[in-house]
Amino acid sequence: MSLIFLLFLSLQLHLSPLSSSSSTTASAARHLHATTSSCPLDFNVLRRLIQSSNRPKLDSDSVSCHYIKIDLRLVQSDYLRTTNNFLPPIDFAESCWVSYQTLINDFFPNFNDIRKIYGFQTSWIAEGCMNITTRDEFEGNVLKSALDDVVKACNQSLGNGSPCASCTTSLSSLQPSNLNGRSIGNLSIARHTLRFTPRRLSIVSAQPMKNCSVEGDAVFVHEVEVIASVRHVNLVALRGFWSMESGFCSARTDAFPAGLRVLVVDDDLVWLRILEKMLKKCSYEVTTCCLAREALDLLRERKDGFDIVISDVNMPDMDGFKLLEHVGLEMDLPVIMMSVDGETSRVMRGVQHGACDYLLKPIRMKELRNIWQHVFRKRIHEVRDIENLDCFEEIQMMRYGTDQSDDGHLFSGGDLTSGKKRKDVENKGDDKDFSDASSAKKARVVWTVDLHQKFVKSVNQIGFDMVLSGFQLEGDEFHLCLAEVGPKKILDLMNVPWLTRENVASHLQKYRLYLGRLQKENELKAFMGRIKQSDLSSKDPVGSLGLQNSIDMQQNDVASGIYGVPGSKIHVQNVDQKIHEGDLKGIVSLPLTEPKKAPIRDIPDPPKTSSSRVELNHSFRPLEPDIKYIPFDSTIPTQYSWSEVPKIQFKQEHKAHLQSEQGFNHLPLPPSISPRPFNKEREKSACVEVKPTYANCKSQQIRQAGPTRSAADLFPVQSESHTDKFSY
């Protein structure tokens, strides 16, 4: 269980009768809390958010940790807003932690001592990095003109195209020019300040949102305040993001790119040593590893432990490309491949497998010095993702957090249809229309849930056709076939007039990567003997691998929030609301999944699956793989998230709802979150230490290849030969 589960619980309160009793408890606690604590931070801000926000349910420590950070940042930001101080006096650190713990325990009684669990230091809650304590100090450090720019960019109507994007862009340009201190984290607080600096501006800019507003109007002012506090969340999240990367859980200070955490994987000990030395000279934090499998285990264990991976292509225990694929898809870390071979085909293969760079040995230090750019590039994308989520949270806040506003009161146009209804269920139809409209408006394709769904349907249809026509395709072959069958056919099946072949092609590529990852998980599942879903194979008369694949695809699709046809049917049945025709229209039905079976399989899956993804990415991203697609494109229309994310949310809510009805009987275990029994052992192994001794490294190799195989070991045969090779 985790904190997040608790947070997520709050959204169920909206649906369940428990709601009233829980909120009574909460308000009682709030009362108590207010009278007992001396901490100047107001944790009730958080309480309101927890009650109003629909966060995805995520069961993993790294994610919980992340949310804790976000939570604390939110509270700190509120403190900044109300007091103009960034952080409470250090004397209050202890009491503030206690307050936070109290809040957590209100919702999640057994979640004791978060500080101990996640390694937060007590002082951290009251410590900044840049020695800026007040807003004035911050503003004194920034050029007036730069400040004005940012204020202008950040104080915009939410109704504008992409307020978050322009704000963050202006902020990021502010950072290098004006603040060359150590911290990015604090700057993000600064971001927050900027947003709130001239509240007047905020009001002015908010005016268009309410057509006939008058300054001084009490209600309007209140609304503006809500907007402000909502934007707050944004910045907090952003700030949380920046510091998240620098790993507040491990209490690291950020001086990016110094301290970049690099994992080097090479079976060549000489190169391993040289690279270690080179990277250290670049002020990077280096971990070396002489076995690919070892590296993979290490990465899985320490999910937030590395920023980038450098791996050799040829390794005896596992093909470097394979490792690359695992890392790229599971951990979503940038991977640099290296080899002494510069053959175009090999380099191409590396790039195809997702390498962000391909270095030729002998590698020069100047090449390594520059690797931070890959990490940075990824961070930019992630900020954008978070931004999208933020905007989504804004909507959520609008919807739940505003006490006085009537439905859609704040929104002038039809733009924010989703905000119009207080109850999620009522939204389904509108929502759909909106997302279609917004995507159609853009010249560039936004892959909305609907669109992606159509895409998936078409792909599945093709896959099924292939099975029917006698192909029994397995794994890569299937994917290969997908690529060959090509975007053209998918496009035809999708039947979306404005979509081009190129759009589909690029989307297909991403989708294939995604499937690849899922398939790897399935392989793993098979090896671990954890396939408990025997119902699938036993009930399935065909049972061919190709078919199995399609089913998995379908299932995973649903799991990740893009509900399949059966899923939609369930929603319709349960919700008993407007049928969203678009979802079902024009989609070839999938005979693969029997509707009766679907609810059982679909429902317990989603939270688990998405949680595992979150865990790997340690960001908000996992909400939905589609979000991932955004950063691949050049610009981000904010509408996307506004229309898209709440919708996903609804799905999750329904699923959660159903889940509570049906119980957890069918809860399957996705492989990636299962605990690894050999963790402890691995921790001690010399091979994964920052400074390995070579003798140990070798013995490690032998041990690895020995009969005590780890459960996750995918390649027993290869490693046998490896044993042969490395033993003396």
Binding site: D268, V270, R273, I274, K277, N314, S339, D341, P362, M365
Partner: protein
């Protein structure tokens, strides 16, 4: 002075290693990595190389004796060895590696064997030369760092 003579001798040895094509600029890279934390970094790496690669040499030797020859395996061994050799900038050795792999591609077992003999020769020649070089460097090394104004 004797010390400056030794210095000159060391410099000449080093220069010869480059001039005669034994080493390439990777060796310079290693020298640049040498610092207070690892004052003998280059020697450490070279030692590591010779210790580590002897296994590759053995592997290749055994694989060459087998018949029929498994060229894929030979190539993969040689690839690994070439990677190692590139780490210290063993230019001549690397050249033989490339040649060897060419023969692997052609399936020319005789060529492989011939090249491998040449490779072993270069491999041990370089070893001797580097050993002598480091020995001399050790003799004057500490004095050099001590007298360097920094």
């Amino acid at each position: 002075m004797e010390r400056s003579q030794m210095h000159r001798q060391l410099a000449n040895m080093r220069k010869a290693l480059f001039d005669q094509g034994f080493l390439d600029e990777q060796f310079v890279q290693l020298e640049e990595l040498q610092d207070d934390a690892n004052p003998n970094f280059v020697e450490e790496i070279v030692t590591l190389y010779y210790r580590d690669s002897s296994r590759s040499i053995l592997n290749i030797e055994q694989a060459l004796e087998r018949s029929p020859q498994d060229f894929t395996k030979l190539d993969s061994y040689m690839h690994q060895f070439k990677g190692s050799s590139s780490s210290i900038g063993a230019k001549k050795v690397k050249h033989e590696c490339t040649q060897f792999r060419e023969y692997c591609k052609e399936g020319n077992g005789e060529g492989c064997k011939r090249t491998f003999q040449q490779l072993q020769k270069e491999y041990s020649t370089l070893k001797k030369k580097l050993e002598a070089y480091f020995q001399l460097a050790r003799q004057i090394g500490p004095i050099e760092t001590a007298t360097r104004p920094k």
